[in-house]
Symmetry: C2
Subunit: 200 residues, 2 copies
Amino acid sequence: MEKPLEELIYRLSRLPGIGIKTARRLSYFLLESDEGEVKKLAESIVEAKEKISECSICHDYTDTDPCTICRSDRRDRSVVCVVERPQDVQVMEQTGKYNGLYHVLHGVIVPERGVVPGDLRIKELLERLKHEDIKEVILATNPTKDGDTTARYIARMLSDVEGIRVSRIAHGIPVGGDLEYYDNLTVATALAHRTDFKES
Amino acid sequence: MEKPLEELIYRLSRLPGIGIKTARRLSYFLLESDEGEVKKLAESIVEAKEKISECSICHDYTDTDPCTICRSDRRDRSVVCVVERPQDVQVMEQTGKYNGLYHVLHGVIVPERGVVPGDLRIKELLERLKHEDIKEVILATNPTKDGDTTARYIARMLSDVEGIRVSRIAHGIPVGGDLEYYDNLTVATALAHRTDFKES
C-alpha cells in the first residue's frame, strides 16, 4: 500500500473506537471526497486544537479566556457545578435548568490507574472558593465508583470551608427508564433516596 | 459551544458511519490529545489527499504514476483483475494468490441511482485491452446485484474481443457480501474457483 495512505489509516486507527477496518474505510472515503472538503476537515482539526484551550477560571474548553459562561453577567455566580469533563458542561447546559457557574475537573480519581487528586483541577476549585462569593458547590461527577470517590474527596476538602452548601446530583432511575433494566445498586439507591410524593 | 469545536464536530460527523455523538467524542479526544499528534493526523489527511491520485493505467490509488503494480516486471501482464474499488486491490493482494494486474472501476453500475457505465473506468479497460497483451479478464466485482450487473455488462462488451478469456470470481463469497469483509482464504478460494463468464 502507498505510504501516505498507510500513514493516514494508521493515524485514524489511533482514535478511540476507530478500528483498523473503520480507519481504512474512512481513508478511502477521504481519497474519494472533494479536495476542498477534505482540507476543511484537516483545518478544523488544527484550528480547534490551536484556538481552544482551558478557561483559566472554570477549566472548560474555550476559545476566549475567560469563557462565555465565566464572563456572563446573567449567570448566578453563587453556585458552581463540578463536572468531570468539558462535554458534561454541554449536557448540563442542554437541560436549560441550570444557570450557575461550572468547574471542570478533567477526570476523576482512579487510584488503580494512578490518577490522584493532584492530576485534577481540584486545587483550582478550592482557590476559586477563596476569591469568589460561592454559596453552593453541586458535585455532578458521574454516579460511578470513581465519580463517587471523587465527589466524596471534594466534599471532605470542603467540609471545613464556612458557609458553603455541598450537594450531590440525585441518583435514581432515569426519567422514562424501566426498573427492569437497571442494576440492583441503582434501584436500591433510588429506593433509599425516595422523596415524599403527594398527589394534590 | 465554541465555534472551532462546533466546526470540528460538524466536519467529523459528515464522515460515513460517524454520528454526531461519535463526532463529539472524537473532538473532545483530539482536544485532550498531544498537539503534535493532532497535527500529524491533520497533515496525514492533507498529504494523502495531495499525494495520492489514480494510476493512469489501472486507476488504483497511487503516489507514483504508473503505480507499483503496473510498473512491476514481476507481475503476470497477461491477466487483469477488475475490481470495484481501490480497497479491493488490497484485499486481493493480501491473499498472496494473485500475481496479475488490476483494473479499478471506481464503482458499479446502479441504474436507480443514475450510475451508468460512463461513470466507471470501463472504457479505460477496453482501451487497455487494445494496447496490452491481455489473455484473461477476471471480473471480481462483488457478488451483489449491482456487482453482477456490472460484471455482465463488461462481459458483454468483451464478448467480441478475440482471444480473451473472461472469468468471474466464484460465489465462494455469500451473495450480498462485500469483498472487504472476508478473510484471505475465502477470497483466495473465490479467486481459484473463478468460472468462465460469457453474457449470451
